[in-house]
């Protein structure tokens, strides 16, 4: 039994990076949407109708559609990934919307996330940050014995919490300063907490933080909007942990550099 709803749908259309862009009204195309559809499936339906009319479909990023890859993402009525907590855009379902709801869909906006087209933004600045982190010292020969390196349960749990980050960029989109601190701190914590990440810990911290700043992201002012918008509920506690590591890296010689 499938119910359907109509939406008053407004989607950001922008033909390319240089185009000014504007909201387009697709209420006509967003009628009779199944409440079982995901948000992206709703956009698929609208796109089919647009294509049938000979219009260009709305460009949006997606891959797994099961909330694990981090490709999807749009700001829906002012909230990255929409109003449902800890949910990616692909996992947001239309039953979360009222019939005749006004829905505004916009790309993640930040100077470091230039818009490619419509809802698609270039998040390669995240890759630059990851690359700046360099390597970790792990053996890549034959598989090591299980539990060869003892790791306390609480530590591995916290590292896994940090490793949940799917790098979607919602934290940047949600931050009043367009800071990527939550992403940055999650990536740092998941290595910095584990024994395998220790040898390069402080050097990695410093390099990734500098890469973050060079990419033009803002700084953290502790609004915690990122944590509220994060589809994985990553905690801003990781930001405090990162700040501590930056101070240690700056004020001691633990990173191997002489102060």
């Amino acid at each position: 039994m499938s119910e359907t709803i109509d939406l008053k749908l407004h989607v950001w259309r922008q033909s390319g990076p240089k185009d000014k862009g504007a909201f387009a009204d697709y209420s006509k195309h967003a009628k009779g949407i199944s409440t079982h559809a995901s948000f992206l499936e709703m956009l698929d339906v609208v796109n089919e109708r647009l294509v049938a009319e000979g219009e260009a479909p709305i460009a949006f990023d997606h891959d797994c559609r099961e909330g694990i890859c981090g490709m999807c993402g749009a700001v829906i009525n002012g909230v990255p990934h929409g109003h449902r907590k800890q949910t990616t855009t692909c996992q947001l379902h239309m039953r979360e919307f009222q019939n005749n709801a006004e829905v505004y869909v916009e790309p993640f906006r930040a100077g470091s996330f230039p818009i490619i087209q419509d809802l698609v933004v270039d998040r390669s600045s995240f890759d630059t940050i990851i690359q700046a982190g360099g390597y970790v010292s792990v053996r890549t020969g034959s598989a090591p014995d299980a539990n060869e390196i003892p790791i306390p349960k609480q530590i591995s749990d916290r590292a896994m919490d940090a490793a949940q980050c799917i790098g979607c960029g919602a934290c940047v989109a949600a931050c009043p300063n367009a800071s990527a601190s939550l992403f940055l701190s999650a990536k740092l914590a998941h290595l910095n907490l584990l024994p395998q990440g220790q040898p390069e810990r402080y050097r990695r911290t410093r390099q990734m933080v500098l890469a973050h700043d060079q990419a033009g992201f803002g700084g953290c002012t502790n609004h915690r909007e990122c944590e509220a918008a994060c589809p994985k509920g990553i905690s801003t506690d990781f930001i405090a942990r990162m700040n501590r590591d930056v101070l240690v890296a700056s004020l001691t010689d633990k990173d191997g550099e002489l102060i």
Partner: protein, 241 residues
């Protein structure tokens, strides 16, 4: 060298400097208020306290230099960070981004900060150098009377009350934020830390708002006390001569 540069060049290092200087200033305003509450003990005690502070040159100048350095670093780095943050999203949201959890105090830091700077300048001119008597002559030997006579003017009291509400807002976010910025975070102490920061911000704001109100309502500085303070200062000066 790399390391120290990370401190002054990275957003996190700069924010840590803002936090440390903010905590120094926070500590000072707590001490400043606690000392000023001696007002409640009457003119003799208050003027004696003020004279003791002024007579202790290492304490006086140590504090002045620390505060001046802190305020300058605090302002320089917050302005640098604020400028960067304001330009990090050149393509603004067309349908405004919704705030989910942030507070008014947090959003208004870049506003309350500069307003506090303006107030601090006024406050120093008012009671320190040169000292401005808004309601009567300013007497450097009688801080009790300077304060009481001017706080009897409603708009002087209003300025101090308003500024200290701003200070309360600044510290409401600032206390917790500073701890986060220097990485003082532990799940065990988080709730305690937040309550402590909020409690101290409330103490500072309420205490500082209380003083002008108390003068206006004659809880502090009755006409007899005002006369007493002037008589004491006059007697002291006669003795010196």
């Amino acid at each position: 060298m790399q390391g120290v540069l990370t401190l002054t060049r990275s957003t996190i290092g700069q924010k840590a400097i803002v936090a440390v200087t903010g905590v120094i200033l926070f500590g000072f305003v707590i001490g400043h208020l606690t000392g000023n509450l001696i007002l409640l003990a009457g003119p003799e005690a208050y003027n004696a306290y003020a004279a003791a502070l002024k007579g202790n040159a290492p304490l006086l100048w140590g504090t002045r230099i620390t505060l001046l350095t802190s305020v300058i670093l605090h302002i320089v780095f917050t302005m640098q960070l604020a400028k960067r943050n304001a330009s990090a999203r050149p393509n603004a949201y067309q349908k405004p981004r919704k705030d989910l959890v942030t507070t008014y105090a947090a959003r208004s830091m870049v506003l309350t900060g500069p307003l506090l700077a303006a107030f601090i300048a006024f406050h120093l001119a008012h009671f320190t150098v040169p000292g401005i008597g808004i309601n009567g002559v300013f007497d450097p030997h009688n801080p009790y009377a300077n304060l009481v006579q001017d706080f009897r003017v409603w708009y002087v009291s209003a300025i101090y009350i308003f500024a200290n509400i701003l200070l309360g807002l600044h510290l409401w976010h600032g206390g917790w934020s500073a701890a986060q910025s220097i990485g003082a975070q532990h799940p065990k102490y988080d709730a305690l830390k937040m309550r402590l920061a909020a409690g101290l911000a409330l103490f500072v704001a309420c205490g500082n708002v209380f003083i002008p109100i108390a003068v206006q309502t004659h809880i502090i500085g009755s006409s007899e006390q005002l006369a007493e303070s002037r008589a004491l200062v006059a007697a002291e000066q006669a003795e010196e001569e």
